[in-house]
């Protein structure tokens, strides 16, 4: 646990937490290694974990009949994986697979929720970080929807 606490302290997610908050978080965190190709969860599975990625790359994906899986987004060092447990019915919206060997911190969503309910100050800190992540991904997704690299649509008078 002490090992985890020391390592957790250097993860961007933990930046700004007090030592005692860090200790309480570390108490529900474990360190994991995942081999390349390992599927962390399936679309529509029970969403029960939060991961803080340390090294490697994980792809969020969707399977489509007759086609290769679509990659929704890739996440890397410093990123959080797994937000679907925050909203009922707590099921994964996408699947997640390690594209290379990955090391990460793993927390059970039940433990995180319990910690937030018993320690509102720490709960506020954790929720604020998750909200920031969600907003950042929302903004990025909105930009991707604009399809800015698409060719300009032809209009009358187009000559170049």
């Amino acid at each position: 646990m002490n090992d985890v606490g020391a390592e957790l302290a250097s993860h961007p997610f933990a930046a700004g937490l007090t030592q005692s908050q860090l200790d309480r978080l570390a108490a529900i965190t474990s360190s994991i290694e995942v081999q390349a190709g390992t599927r962390l969860f399936e679309e529509d599975g029970q969403a029960t974990s939060l991961w803080l990625i340390r090294t490697g790359q994980i792809a969020l994906d969707l399977h489509v009949p007759g086609r290769d899986r679509l990659i929704v987004e890739t996440l890397g060092p410093g990123d959080e994986l797994g937000l679907s447990w925050l909203l009922p019915p707590a099921r994964w919206k996408f699947g997640a697979v390690a594209q290379v060997d990955v090391s990460a911190f793993e927390l059970s969503s039940a433990a995180v929720t319990g910690l937030c309910e018993s320690d509102h100050e720490l709960g506020y800190q954790l929720t604020w970080r998750l909200l920031g992540t969600a907003i950042g991904r929302l903004q990025a997704a909105r930009i991707r929807i604009l399809d800015l690299y698409a060719p300009p649509s032809p209009t009358a008078g187009s000559s170049s």
Binding site: R67, T74, L148, Y149, P152, P154, S158, S159, S160
Partner: protein, 272 residues
């Protein structure tokens, strides 16, 4: 020195299909060559009987040949993309300001490219890789629509071997793509930039440049450390036809490379 009003004949010596709609042409002068270009500058390429469009030079400066990467989006560009080796086209230029104005000597050089915006940045990257001692880190972050639409993809590993940190991401991909999926600004956080010591050059669609520049200034880079490449309707190239104005700037003369400190208030005004 050639008169920039008249197209100079250049012969296509090679043609590479970068993507389904983008072609790189290498040109050799058929007459006296135009003046030497510098990274970031553009020429007006003329397709006989069809018309003329501004295209940034996408190759390494030095030597008489010119390299241009052209996306087929209209009559003239389609005609140029269909041209074959041996064919002669017209070239006027070079015109405009250059990435060299962003003097990054002794600093981290960050290039952020969106889509075909990588083409005008490539001369700056190749020049930097040719004299790496001049810079600390050389970082390229490039975004594209999909893996099939990445330009110069065959060169990314060479660039890495020559000392550039290269981060590539695409907006959409399927599982056959092992790389990153996401918008290019998401790579900025992972690049561990030194905000005070980084000079950034950005090129891509204007909205992408605006968003990326703000992401960089949000990460602590001062506006004057950021440079973008702007585009407007371009016709004469010699500041006489008036079309390329953006507020006080004539982009054929005061651009296309513009410091973000100057450009920011201008591109923020709708319909300026």
């Amino acid at each position: 020195m050639t008169d920039c009003r008249y197209p100079v004949r250049y012969r296509i010596s090679s043609r590479v299909e970068e993507t389904h709609d983008t072609v790189t042409l290498t040109l050799e002068p058929a007459d006296d060559p135009i003046a030497a270009f510098r990274p970031g500058q553009f020429t007006m390429l003329y397709s006989f009987g069809v018309g003329e469009i501004p295209i940034s030079v996408s190759g390494l400066p030095g030597g008489p040949s010119l390299t241009h990467t052209i996306r087929s989006v209209g009559a003239v560009s389609a005609s140029l993309c269909a041209a074959r080796p041996g064919q002669v086209i017209g070239v006027r230029g070079p015109f405009g300001t250059t990435w060299d104005d962003a003097d990054a000597a002794g600093r981290d050089l960050l290039l952020v490219a969106g889509g075909i915006g990588l083409a005008p940045l490539r001369p700056a990257l190749l020049s930097a890789l040719a004299q790496p001692a001049r810079y600390r880190r050389i970082i390229l972050l490039a975004g594209a629509r999909s893996p099939a639409e990445l330009v110069f993809a065959a060169e990314y590993d060479q660039w890495r071997e020559r000392g550039a940190e290269v981060g590539i991401t695409v907006d959409k991909a399927d599982a056959s793509w092992p790389g990153q999926v996401g918008v290019v600004t998401q790579l900025i956080g992972r690049a561990n930039l030194d905000p005070a010591g980084t000079t950034a050059l950005i090129c891509g669609p204007e909205v992408m440049m605006r968003i990326t520049a703000r992401a960089l200034t949000g990460a602590g880079l001062p506006s004057p450390s950021v440079w973008i490449s702007l585009e407007r309707n371009m016709q004469c190239g010699i500041a006489e036809c008036g079309h390329c104005q953006l507020g006080p700037l004539l982009l054929c003369r005061d651009g296309p490379v513009v410091n973000f400190g100057v450009a920011e208030p201008l591109i923020a005004v709708r319909e300026l």
